[in-house]
């Protein structure tokens, strides 16, 4: 009769350590709480890998499978994804800035100045918000160029391209409305140039100035309007259009491929 050893019994020290490691791993990843959050373990089979993408709320923006040419970095340079990532960073840092900022001409400038000196990581948050905002504008242009030069706007993706153009405009306007908020000289005079440009619109110049800028001069109502647009109206619109944009990529049969 062959000797059947009990496979569960460690025979030496290295095996004992192995068992201990397994126990710790189990305690962390197989306990009740963890499993209530993540229903399955690390996805290490193709089936589970597809399941995790399909069932995770963040990952499910993706399809489960993808043509191999599209995972090549040189096809998209990740530009659309990075634009979206900038939007996420801007949302997080923006919320933190909102904690300390009051959009009134009496307080705005002072709030920003104090945020930089008196608030822990306040300066860092403001810098992050500023630089990623510039990056988002650059990235959205580059993404548009990537889409154009790969001919990815062609049928059936015409409408998603139009959604993209709307996102481009929203990105620019988001950035411009944010520019005014520190209420310093840079902000005021850049907005003044914008006011002049809006006022030169044929027939609707005055109306545009009144509605968007809240008057014929940059003042308290401009600040409040830009603030409201910047922190709620435009991000909400952008998020809605981004949702449509991502959904359409899936509906249009994934990303464009040669015939």
């Amino acid at each position: 009769m062959a000797v059947t050893e009990d496979p569960g019994k460690p025979r030496n020290w290295s095996e004992r350590i192995g068992v201990l490691q397994d126990r710790i791993y189990d305690k962390i990843f197989h306990n009740y709480v963890w499993q209530s959050i993540f229903r399955s373990g690390y996805p290490n089979t193709p089936r589970n890998q597809m399941l995790v993408v399909a069932t995770n709320v963040f990952l499910h923006l993706h399809p489960t499978r993808l043509h191999r040419t599209h995972v090549k970095v040189t096809h998209t340079y990740c530009l659309g994804g990075l634009t979206f990532f900038m939007f996420l960073i801007l949302t997080v840092t923006g919320v933190l800035l909102m904690f300390y900022y009051v959009p009134s001409v009496e307080r705005a400038y002072q709030d920003i100045a104090e945020l930089e000196t008196n608030v822990k990581f306040g300066l860092l948050m403001r810098n992050m918000h500023r630089w990623t905002a510039h990056a988002m504008v650059i990235l959205v242009f580059l993404h548009m160029m990537r889409v154009f030069y790969t001919g990815a706007y062609k049928p059936p993706r015409e409408f998603n391209w139009v959604v993209g153009v709307i996102l481009l405009v929203l990105t620019l306007v988001l950035s411009f409305t944010g520019y005014l908020l520190p209420w310093d000289q840079l902000a005021l005079w850049a907005a003044t140039i914008g006011l002049g440009i809006a006022g030169s619109a044929p027939y609707f110049g005055d109306e545009t100035q009144l509605i968007v800028f809240g008057g014929f001069e940059i003042g308290p109502s401009t600040l409040l309007r830009f603030y409201t647009l910047h922190v709620i109206a435009l991000p909400l619109l952008a998020a809605i259009f981004m949702a449509v944009h991502f959904w359409r990529i899936r509906r249009d049969g994934g990303m464009a491929r040669p015939l």
């Binding site: 993408v53 504008v137 620019l172 209420w183």
Partner: protein, 327 residues
């Protein structure tokens, strides 16, 4: 088996052709292949921007002050191209209409270029790379060139047109075209396109009709106040005001609208036509390739000029001479 054996042995063996792959086999899983790339990109960007933000601070100038105008005052960089255009043409074209046209042009591209050819790969048509490079270089050179021409007093392009004579300030009518000089001892050629309405003068013989009394139609004097039909009907329709006492300034329309816009249109048609005659433009896609590239390249060029070459009072100067007067 027997049938196989009867095959003539001399027949050359066909080269083994790979079986065409089914779609599924060409696909990879999003987890881990794509998620990994996205993760790396996100981490790289997070680190980069954290470092950038640790070392470079966002600007915060003095408290906003309506009474103190910084010189030059500038729009954010992505609108500096519009601010640049403002210097060269009518402000509603520069600030509102041209950008609207450009965005509308972007939006309709897929509805005009509907072929499914050349999609999903970089530069899918035969001459795409060549066309893109040529269009980009052309747009940069042309837009920079026009800006340089339009600052003739600084860049000395006015000397090209200095052969146009100086106007005789005593004469009632100028006759053949001349340029009025503020300083009669210092004659200058065309400094900018605005000179067409500001400094250019000439007259042609004309019968005494339509308000002309001196048998001469003078540019700009007789043409800068042309009443629009029905301009005595003032009033409103709802909240929308009709024109009232509206007059056209033909010389200004020429210098601020017709000349700049037709120059742009002409230069755009020219490059497309030349590349077409060379046989490099084969499809509609190629036409849009040229137009899109040219729009993006001139957008960028004008932004750069606005950022680095505009000093006080928006004068065109080299970057090292720019001094900002905070007011």
């Amino acid at each position: 088996m027997a049938v196989e054996a009867q095959r003539p042995a001399a027949r050359p063996a066909e080269p083994a052709r790979p079986r065409p792959k089914r779609e599924r086999e060409e696909e990879v899983l999003v987890w881990p292949d794509l998620v990994f790339i996205e993760f790396v990109a996100a981490v790289l960007f997070t680190i980069t921007f954290l470092l950038l933000s640790v070392f470079i601070n966002a600007p915060l100038l003095n408290h906003a002050n309506q009474d103190v105008t910084p010189n030059p005052s500038k729009a954010p960089w992505y609108f500096l191209n519009l601010q640049e255009l403002l210097l060269h043409m009518d402000k509603s074209w520069a600030g509102v209409l041209l950008p609207t046209v450009a965005l509308a042009f972007f939006a309709v591209i897929p509805y005009l270029d509907r072929s499914r050819q050349a999609q999903g790969v970089w530069f899918g048509t035969k001459y795409a790379v060549r066309l893109t490079v040529i269009a980009a270089v052309y747009a940069v050179v042309v837009s920079a060139g026009l800006v340089i021409f339009d600052a003739g007093d600084r860049t000395h392009t006015e000397s090209l047109t200095r052969w146009i004579p100086s106007c005789d300030t005593q004469a009632a009518h100028q006759g053949s075209p001349c340029l009025r000089d503020a300083d009669p001892t210092k004659h200058e050629g065309i400094i900018s396109v605005k000179d067409v309405s500001k400094r250019l003068q000439f007259s042609v013989p004309f019968p005494n009709i339509w308000g002309i009394h001196d048998k001469n139609l003078d540019w700009p004097g007789d043409l800068d106040h042309i009443p629009v039909p029905l301009n005595n009907v003032c009033g409103n329709i709802g909240s929308f005001h009709l024109w009232c006492d509206m007059h056209l300034n033909i010389p200004v329309i020429m210098s601020d609208q017709v000349i700049p816009l037709s120059t742009i249109a002409f230069l755009a048609v020219l490059i497309i036509y030349v590349l077409f005659r060379l046989g490099w433009v084969r499809t509609r896609r190629d036409v849009f390739l040229i137009m899109f590239t040219a729009v993006m390249a001139s957008y960028l060029t004008l932004s750069m000029i606005g950022s680095f070459f505009r000093g006080q009072a928006q004068a065109l100067i080299p970057p090292w001479d720019i001094k900002v007067d905070e007011g």
